[in-house]
């Protein structure tokens, strides 16, 4: 087992100094996700302005992988367009499901490519994805809460 591959400097740095942590107002969508096997939890809020993810705020309890992953997520999607954020979500999910076969595109995934080593550890992939699942869910909720310019989708 190559521990350094799993616990890369970048990951440990995000774990020790998480970016964007704390729950903030305003927000349109909030999601609470739990990993039932280990009890890791995250509450994550999304604030959308127009087509931009204006803020992602969160509070979490969990291992280094799940905490670092949420911190990296914050850096990657805050300020991005909703479309780009979803693209990165897709890329990151694919990377995590690659069983170590992919390295990830540093152009789009930036620090998140450090998680490519995690994908070799099936027991830890869920840890890395917990925050991203919360983001996906919160974004859906936010979009449902905001009247869109397309109109007519409000319920």
């Amino acid at each position: 087992m190559d521990l350094d591959e799993l616990y890369q400097e970048v990951i440990l740095d995000h774990y020790k100094r998480p970016r964007g942590v704390g729950l903030r107002e305003p927000y349109e969508g909030e999601s609470h996700q739990v990993n039932p096997t280990c009890g890791d939890e995250i509450t994550l809020r999304v604030h959308v302005e127009g087509d931009t993810v204006a803020d992602v705020s969160y509070e979490n309890a969990g291992c280094s992988i799940s905490k670092a992953s949420a911190s990296v997520l914050y850096e990657l999607v805050k300020g991005a367009s909703v479309e780009d954020a979803l693209k990165r979500l897709g890329e990151f999910t694919e990377l995590m499901n690659s069983k170590g076969r992919e390295e990830g595109d540093e152009e789009t995934l930036e620090d998140a490519v450090a998680f490519s080593g995690v994908s070799k550890y099936p027991m830890r992939v869920k840890c890395a994805l917990l925050g991203w699942m919360a983001f996906k869910d919160a974004l859906v909720r936010a979009e449902a809460a905001i009247p869109t310019s397309g109109g007519g989708s409000e319920q």
Partner: protein, 427 residues
């Protein structure tokens, strides 16, 4: 030392091929026996011999193999019964695991409490539950001995109550007489706690349950593998345990209950093998234990469990207990030397199993487990299916090291030095 280990651990280890395994380039140190134990060749050989030589369905045909299989299966029942001091072999019911055993008892209550006029024939009033009745567990249960009772109460309108835990990880019996009272119909509590490692004193709770006329049972999943258990001495009405934690295979568990109680209990699973006679309209049931063993049972697994019982008996359960008492003392002493480590559960090796949960300041158990794995050390991390216990001690998860007959002090030393490594990575 007074309780010196009488186990020859080196020769025991030679019976467990998996202990020769390497994880990466490190020898395996298996400290996760509370999750599942490893199996000696005596167990796997017995199962293979049965499968290769005598495999057949039981209690159905008259051919030689069927007769050998039936004999092997019933022989296993007898061995298990003797191992736990049961007065009759027929008091041992084979199930899939402890969880199924507890559900079997909980569903006996539920099936006896059905209110639509289809109450089972002969349903005993002791099993009828409704609003005003109470069921008692403890705060240190494995989910297996909590969720079935909790759900039973939700369905019948009965109230679930529980005995709390002291800060030192013992049952808080100060309010026992209030928690277990005239409304209590059943008390089911953990014998040895899987997260805390506490060996619970049983006599006071059993006496109180009897005093108020409640049935009383034990989740002995972590007890039967590790300490001598005599159901007659315990004075309880039922106990449950599982094969795979006591050197046996997965897929077989045990419910022991007093014969008189098994007779009074409505069946849980129904179908083949558990009947006396069947018409299109009605069924009468076989006597226990068959009444509770619907369908083809795990025959090869029963053979494996019998071999495990033989193995433990040849070691002697007093010796097993003495060995583990030493390991518990050693583990507690050594773990306490690790900076920032807090033991969750009793910190003295009295009334305590060699299963030790701990927190390492600032490092999540997942990360602890991962670094330990890179050193070849297998421990359990997470909530150990005991979330209420975690909440009681203000943690979401712990790291748990657990020992068994094949565990050495050297493996514990490796654990301790690897924990120093964990601290370095996450410092």
């Amino acid at each position: 030392m007074e309780a010196a280990s009488k186990l020859d651990v080196e020769s025991i280890r030679a019976d467990f091929p998996i202990l020769q395994r390497k994880i990466g380039d490190k020898p395996l140190a298996y400290l996760d026996s509370a999750a599942t134990s490893q199996k000696p060749v005596q167990v796997t050989d017995a199962m293979r011999r049965f499968t290769d030589h005598s495999n057949a369905n039981i209690s159905r045909s008259v051919h030689t193999l069927a007769s050998e299989a039936t004999e092997a299966y019933e022989g296993a029942r007898a061995k298990v019964a003797n191992f736990i001091g049961a007065i009759s072999h027929d008091e041992v019911v084979f199930t899939k695991n402890s969880t199924e055993s507890i559900n079997l008892v909980a569903y006996a209550f539920q099936n006896a409490s059905v209110q639509n006029g289809t109450v089972e024939r002969g349903a005993d009033p002791r099993f009828r539950l409704g609003p005003g009745d109470e069921v008692v567990v403890t705060e240190m249960e494995h989910h297996a001995n909590l969720v079935p009772w909790q759900q039973l109460c939700l369905r019948t309108g009965a109230t679930l109550r529980w005995i709390g835990i002291t800060d030192t990880g013992r049952l808080d019996l100060a309010h026992l007489d209030e928690v277990v009272n005239e409304r209590t119909k059943v008390v089911s509590f953990v014998h040895v706690a899987n997260l805390l490692g506490t060996v619970n004193p049983t006599s006071q709770i059993v006496a109180r349950a009897k005093e108020v006329g409640a049935l009383v049972g034990l989740d002995s999943s972590q007890a039967v593998p590790h300490i001598p258990v005599d159901v007659t001495e315990l004075g309880v009405d039922f106990i449950v345990f599982t094969g795979h934690k006591m050197l046996g295979p997965t897929g077989i568990g045990v419910l022991w209950a007093k014969a008189e109680l098994l007779d009074a209990m409505p069946p849980f699973l129904t179908g083949g093998s558990m009947i006396e006679t069947v018409t299109m309209e009605r069924t009468t049931f076989a006597k226990a234990p068959a009444k509770f063993e619907a369908g083809t049972p795990p025959v090869a697994e029963a053979v494996g469990l019998a071999a495990a019982v033989d193995y433990l008996s040849s070691l002697g359960m007093d010796n097993v207990r003495a060995h583990e008492k030493e390991l518990a003392a050693y583990m507690l002493e050594r773990l306490e030397t690790v900076d920032g480590l807090t033991v969750i559960g009793p910190r003295v090796p009295i009334g305590r199993a060699s299963t030790v949960s701990f927190e390492l300041d600032g490092v999540h158990p997942h990360d602890v487990g991962q670094v330990l794995d890179s050193e070849g050390i297998a421990v359990r991390v997470g909530h150990h299916c005991a979330k209420p216990t975690c909440v009681r001690f203000g943690v979401t998860a712990t790291t748990r090291a657990s020992a068994y007959v094949y565990t050495t002090t050297e493996e514990i030393d490796r654990l301790v030095s690897a924990l120093e490594q964990v601290r370095k990575v996450f410092a």
